[in-house]
């Protein structure tokens, strides 16, 4: 089965610095990956996704990197802002399966 984990449960960064949140997955058949942000009391909110035929994808202030060799992906947030403080989850899916397997989350705290 799939298991998805994160390297650090908490991450604190200074406002304006870049943040990097890492995630590892176990299923080599995983071919779709997605990052969600969850603020307190709210549901997960989509940030960015990437398919396995890519190794990098950029959005607005965010970049996802995928290394299939070591089954690792990362989320980079540029110029981190106080509003970025939240729990960040990576999730993975494989083949035609629609279900996402979520990692355990990293709490990002942006310090003033």
């Amino acid at each position: 089965g799939e298991s998805v984990g994160l390297h650090l449960p908490t991450l604190s960064v200074q406002e304006g610095d870049n943040s990097i949140i890492n995630c590892a997955y176990s299923n080599s058949a995983s071919d779709y990956f997605i990052w969600y942000k969850q603020e307190s009391g709210k549901g997960p909110q989509f940030i960015i996704d990437i398919r396995s035929n890519m190794d990098k994808r950029q959005g607005q202030r965010v970049t996802v990197l995928l290394n299939k060799t070591v089954k690792h992906l990362s989320l980079q947030i540029a110029a981190t802002q106080p509003g970025d403080s939240a729990v960040y989850f990576c999730a993975a899916a494989s083949g035609s399966a629609r279900q996402l397997t979520f990692g355990s989350g990293t709490q990002l705290t942006v310090l003033p």
Partner: protein, 115 residues
């Protein structure tokens, strides 16, 4: 921006009681899901629903759970006889039919407390 709406936001129930959690997915989405999140833990998949039937379910989704799309807009999760360990935040989600991608849009969740 279209959103998934869930009711109730919080429900407290006695162990053994039946609970129905309701969701209104995004109107042009075809896939519907329930996930749950026990306090402080990861988001766990329960079930997915497509074309009026369950397409995938997890081991958590046992005979105590059922889903239904009673009309063109609502999607419900029923827990027949609640247990203490069913206490969690339950998230409904929906997604469009897009090949190679599956961006789920989540609702704000329904917090279930079983006493």
């Amino acid at each position: 921006e279209p959103e998934v709406t869930q009711t109730p936001s919080h429900q407290v129930t006695q162990m053994g009681q039946e609970v129905i959690l309701r969701c209104v997915p995004i109107s042009n989405h075809l896939y519907f899901y329930w996930y749950r999140q026990i306090l402080g833990q990861k988001v766990e998949f329960l079930v997915s629903f497509y074309n009026n039937e369950i397409s995938e379910k997890s081991e958590i989704f046992d005979d105590q759970f059922s889903v239904e799309r009673p009309d063109g807009s609502n999607f419900t999760l029923k827990i027949r006889s609640t247990k203490l360990e069913d206490s969690a935040m339950y998230f409904c989600a929906s997604s469009a039919l897009v090949s190679g991608a599956n961006v789920l849009t989540f609702g704000a969740g329904s917090r279930l407390t079983v006493l």
